[in-house]
């Protein structure tokens, strides 16, 4: 057994996992505050990344970033007004469906105004790998700097979100809404505004995810398909848990890389895609509400 390589695979998995967590966070935020399983998160990632990259053609990065933020907030307001408000009190599956409609709309809308080509997004992420601990293991341990930066960005984002949730009045209101809609409303928390805020925050998360992924893959339609890689993370971690999204992401990342590298060759390879889901499924069989999800007690 090549321990250096094993370590490399695990590290690679952790890095990939962080990137999944970035997308998964967006799902969790919205589910937590409004009980909506927002399938459009992937489309929002694409839309945000497309906006950013096309705006950067005309202005410096910071200006484009701020403008994209504004666009995502506007989008959140629009979604709340046009989609969520008329559908208030509908069954979860109806809201889920509505977000699928939203996905189609955003995919088409984004490509109509921003184009459907591949756009190169350069935010100064380093590309070269670094090799560590060469004296300890044969060949050293290869770490991808770009992934390290991405992990750092994700960590900052999560810390920021945690601060926002724990320390600000809005954050407290958000948590109150997440706990109990009706109780929150009865103490005077405006639900509509909270929803706008939550969608805006997840829009920002989408922007960061789109930035990191876009710098990795180039900004193009495929970014929206990354949502599918984040889904097992969400169910493994639990729909309502921010730490769950992070830890779930790490577990899925490591699990799928290990499976592909060590099991894949025996069965022809290409297994990581479904392995992530099966892994999540196995966890669910033990804990049906995910690792950190809230336990629901069914009452008649």
């Amino acid at each position: 057994m090549n321990w250096g390589f094993l370590l490399e695979v695990i590290l690679g998995g952790l890095m990939a996992g962080v990137l999944y967590s970035l997308v998964a966070l967006g799902f969790v935020l919205i589910y937590k505050a409004s009980g909506v399983f927002n399938f459009a998160q992937g489309a929002m990632v694409l839309f945000a990344a497309l906006s950013l990259v096309r705006l950067m053609e005309h202005m410096p990065f910071l200006a484009a970033f701020v403008l994209t933020l504004a666009i995502m907030v506007l989008l959140a307001i629009g979604i709340e007004r046009l989609v969520l408000r008329p559908l208030v009190n509908q069954a979860p599956i109806i809201l889920f469906m509505a977000t699928i409609g939203l996905t189609y709309f955003l995919d088409g809308f984004g490509q109509t105004i921003w184009g459907s080509d591949v756009y190169q997004l350069n935010i100064g992420m380093p590309k070269e790998p670094i090799i560590m601990a060469e004296s300890l293991v044969n060949g050293g341990i290869l770490v991808n700097k770009e992934d390290l930066y991405a992990a750092l960005i994700a960590a900052i984002l999560v810390a920021g979100l945690a601060l926002f949730f724990q320390k600000t009045a809005t954050g407290r209101a958000l948590r109150a809404v997440a706990d109990d809609h009706q109780a929150a409303q009865s103490v005077g928390i405006p639900l509509n505004r909270i929803w706008v805020i939550v969608w805006a925050v997840s829009g920002i998360v989408a922007l960061v995810a789109g930035m990191v992924w876009g710098s990795k893959l180039g900004v193009q339609f495929s970014l929206s398909l990354i949502a599918l890689k984040a889904l097992p993370v969400v169910i493994l971690g639990g729909f309502e848990s921010v730490p769950g999204a992070i830890i779930g992401g790490l577990i899925i990342g490591v699990g799928e890389k290990l499976s592909e590298v060590y099991l894949g060759p025996y069965v022809g390879g290409g297994i990581e895609y479904w392995f992530a889901y099966v892994l999540a499924l196995l966890f669910l069989l033990v804990r049906p509400e995910g690792l950190f999800g809230e336990k629901h007690i069914d009452r008649v």
Binding site: L217, F221, I226, V261, P265
Partner: protein
């Protein structure tokens, strides 16, 4: 309820229009269906191909007034790279125009497979320039398929020839390792039999590493490459998978100069987003690369400068644009060749098929087409629907593609028996009696 009525009225109108199909006046026109994908995960690659195709058709109309006076008409249909959508497009377009569809270019291996089952009944040829089923070269069984200018088997064979030459001879290949990183679909799997055959013959080891569609996550694949350290990596990707592979290659420190892509993994969108990561990367070409010759100037002069350009001007001369343009050229030349036998009038698919089977594009004709230096002579026959099995390698230097090898000719000794066996198996499955090519 009002809304309900209105919706049903619109639906009824739509249904009526779908049913009525279309009555077309007889005209001196040749209808070319254009299957494209301008949306979805593969749009960045699909768009330039479509633009090149349509620009060339526009050129023929604008410069020559059609093919010998027969005007070209066309209609695009969006497939989104999905097989069922492709079938719908086929059904929608096959009967249009005074003589029906000229020939279909499905631009997707999946759609090619599905249409192969349908074109025979409708008597419309299926042109798959640089893709499709490799065994469909055998025209005695695949009467309606034309995998012009090279199949994936040709690509795999020539890539092996190239690395063998680089290594310094067949005897040096023993014990070497080649990894095939492929799109996990019929497209990606096509080259495997040929590579396995070569691995057996030359004694190198073949690793096959599938990447699940769309290929945005390949870390595990490239970690395996880092561990196994193959001497060469062949990349059989499409769309985002290619640029991701480039990035992951640099992330594990695999030298790009030892990576060789198929011709669908060797165009501008594949390398541009990867930035410096792609420098030194090689790909086999479908004869042409990213060059600009006379025909491009003509397109600029007759089409783009008149404000008729399909896409952006900067696309002209790019690899995928050229691919689309050459695909359209082959349609036009097939019609021209058929007109020589059946007369200068709009032709049926069946007649175009004869033209495609008796296509002779020699050096003089290539010069007349304004494609000198881009392509090699093509000559098809009943037994050979491919017409040419030549290719060369080009490399990306960070700004542009340039050729880095001479022409190679695919090894008929290896491919011939494989094609014969595969087409025989297909014929047996489908109860097709192969045509006797000596009598054609």
């Amino acid at each position: 309820m009002k809304m309900n009525l209105r919706v049903s009225a619109v639906a009824a109108l739509g249904a009526a229009m779908i049913i009525s199909g279309g009555a077309y006046a007889q005209a001196n026109e040749q209808f070319v269906p254009v299957l494209v994908y301008r949306t979805g995960p593969y749009a960045p690659n699909g768009v330039p191909v479509a633009n090149g195709f349509v620009d060339y058709l526009k050129l023929i109309n604008a410069r020559d007034g059609g093919i010998n006076g027969v005007k070209l008409t066309w209609e695009e249909c969006e497939t989104g790279y999905a097989t069922d959508r492709g079938i719908e497009c086929y059904e929608r377009l096959k009967g249009k125009g005074p003589t029906g569809a000229t020939a279909f270019n499905p631009l997707s291996t999946g759609i090619t497979y599905a249409l192969t089952e349908k074109v025979g009944a409708d008597k419309i040829p299926l042109f798959t320039t640089g893709y499709g089923r490799s065994e469909s070269k055998d025209g005695s069984v695949f009467k309606w398929n034309f995998p012009f200018m090279g199949t994936y088997w040709v690509a795999a064979d020539i890539l092996v020839q190239h690395v063998t030459k680089k290594e310094g001879g067949a005897d040096k290949m023993k014990g070497k390792k080649i990894a095939l990183v492929y799109h996990d679909s019929p497209y990606g799997k096509e080259p495997i039999p040929v590579l396995q055959e070569h691995a057996k013959r030359l004694g190198f080891e073949l690793l096959t590493l599938p990447v699940t569609h769309p290929g945005v996550e390949q870390k595990a694949t490239w970690l395996q490459i880092r561990q196994q350290r193959p001497n060469y990596v062949f990349l059989w990707g499409w769309g985002v998978m290619n640029s991701t592979a480039m990035k992951e290659a640099i992330a594990v420190g695999y030298p790009r100069s030892q990576m060789f892509g198929v011709w669908w993994a060797g165009a501008e969108p594949d390398v541009l987003t990867a930035d410096d990561a792609a420098k030194g990367y090689n790909a086999i070409t479908l004869q042409h690369g990213a060059e600009k010759t006379t025909v491009h100037n003509e397109i600029i002069k007759h089409v783009h400068d008149k404000g008729q350009g399909t896409g952006e001007k900067k696309e002209i001369g790019q690899v995928l644009y050229n691919r689309g343009m050459i695909s359209a050229m082959l349609v036009v030349e097939a019609v021209r060749s058929a007109q020589g036998k059946f007369g200068k009038k709009p032709l049926k698919g069946e007649e175009v098929r004869w033209g495609a089977e008796n296509l002779k594009i020699d050096a003089a004709r290539i010069k007349a087409l304004g494609m000198e230096g881009m392509i090699q002579p093509i000559a098809t026959s009943c037994a050979d629907h491919e017409g040419a099995q030549k290719a060369r390698i080009h490399s990306w230097d960070g700004d542009k593609w340039s050729f880095t090898s001479d022409w190679y000719q695919a090894d008929e000794k290896v491919l011939g028996p494989m094609i014969a066996a595969a087409s025989k198996k297909y014929a047996a499955e489908k109860n097709i009696t192969p045509r006797d090519c000596s009598k054609e």
